[in-house]
Amino acid sequence: MWKWLHPYAKAETTYKLCYRLLPYFSWLAVITLVSGSIWGLFYAPSDYQQGDSFRIIYFHVPTAIWSMGAYTSMAICGLIGIVWQIRNAELAVYAIAPVGAAFTFLALISGAIWGKPMWGAWWVWDARLTSELILLFLYLGVIALYNSFEDKRTAARASSILAIVGVINVPIIHYSVEWWNTLHQGASITKLDKPSISPDMLWPLLLNISGFLFVLAALVCLRLANQILINDARRPWVKAMVSEKTNKAEQSKNKATLADKE
């Protein structure tokens, strides 16, 4: 029944929706990220224990939160795509994956840089950093799996299945790593958790958390639109777009040759 509920116009509708939403997300992202970062970097008071190095929190925590959030939404899209056979949801999986991987990478790097002054080492097997590292592997798996299939439809479904399997594991991994961490290192190492944070510090953090969410949303809109374009390459509406582009290219070429002659 669902198959009949999604007529082929729907891909085009989604494509247009992506571009309609894009400016809102982009502007919201710019406003929140710029204000949050400036507030956090220059105006928020410094932490009494960590000094000004704590300001890395404004980048580490949002990316860490949304790296997990992106994985979860990716898996939800995969599930919707597999269960209800909705092509656009399958396409969203690979639209989200690279952005999520980049966020995970940022969370890891910022965590490591923060760790250097805190622990005196770039890498400590801290619970959150370790699970971020494993999350990065999970993302890389999804991306690698998608790219190794020639047929992109098969690729989209395979990576959807992997994302679903992965998301069942994410909480288990998180929990197990946390547990392993307390077992092996006890409480001697300060975790990257925010200890009862003061409101002056919290507001910019919330701004940046929402800012990174908008960045994620905007990027996913762009990439999803592109995925739809690739998937629908043989449909008339995409063909019209391609031929329009061809005409434009020819026109500009003609202009160039005319200019040369003159």
Binding site: I82, I134, F137, L138, L140, G141, A144, L145, S148, F149, D151, R153, T154, R157, A158, I161, L162, I164, V165, G166, I168, N169, I172, I173, Y175, S176, V177, W179, W180, L183
Partner: protein
């Protein structure tokens, strides 16, 4: 003779049984495939004392982890070729076209694969435990952890194999997909053994492992069936 309406009733149980028996027969005909993971398991464990230190204290400390990592690698070998022949010969297609649910058929295959390849790994661990200088009272815990843990590894690995079986390059991609998913099992299993070494109760870790086994028993065949259906496309 050509009456199209009468047919022998098809039972799920006999289908399950026939796949199980087929796997055993196949394994019996190709004993090298049966022995390979076991030998690999032994060799990998042997490398560690040579590479780190043969001091009994060190061996005792790293022993459980080493045995578990070696078991994971050995199972990766098993998993890598799990569905390959069936895929290449078209058996997977035939399964998909059978009226018996795919996940049941996959379950039979996995159960047989566990008996064929993984049970041997569990059985030879006492030998490895002696090599790694692990105290005798820890050996039952080690074997128990492998008994519960190896099916999880096999089931999760089979999902990875089902996803990549249609591709030419299997191995590296498979390990990228599967190894991160193995981490929780590794953590809980080694901590179970650690608890046993300290003469502490390990029911907590055991129950976590068992619940992971149940979850993977339930989900893996469904995921594998979906993945195989997708690969055959």
């Amino acid at each position: 003779m050509n009456n199209l309406s009468t047919s022998k009733p098809l039972s799920y149980w006999s289908a399950f049984k026939s796949i199980f028996i087929r796997e055993i027969k196949l394994a019996w005909q190709k004993p090298t495939q049966l022995v390979q993971p076991v030998v690999f398991f032994l060799i990998v464990v042997t490398l560690f004392p040579l590479g780190i230190s043969p001091a009994p204290k060190t061996l005792q400390m790293i022993g459980p982890g080493v045995i578990w990592i070696a078991a994971i690698l050995a199972i990766m070998l098993v998993v890598e070729r799990l569905f390959r022949q069936d895929y290449q010969e078209g058996t997977i297609e035939a399964w998909l076209l059978s009226t018996v649910p795919m996940s049941l058929l996959v379950g039979a295959k996995l159960l047989a694969a566990w008996f064929i390849s993984c049970s041997v790994l569990v059985l030879i661990t006492p030998v490895l435990a002696l090599l790694m200088n692990i105290e005798t009272h820890v050996i039952p815990a080690l074997m128990l952890s492998l008994l519960v843990g190896t099916p999880i590894l096999l089931f999760v690995g089979a999902i990875g194999n089902a996803l990549t079986v249609g591709l030419n390059q299997g191995g590296v991609l498979l390990s990228l997909l599967v190894l991160p998913l193995y981490i929780p099992v590794l953590i809980f299993a080694t901590s179970l053994i650690e608890a046993a070494t300290l003469n502490m109760s390990y029911t907590g870790q055991m129950s976590i492992l068992i619940s992971m086994l149940l979850v993977s028993c339930f989900f893996a065949p469904v995921a594998i069936a979906a993945a195989l259906k997708n690969t055959v496309n």
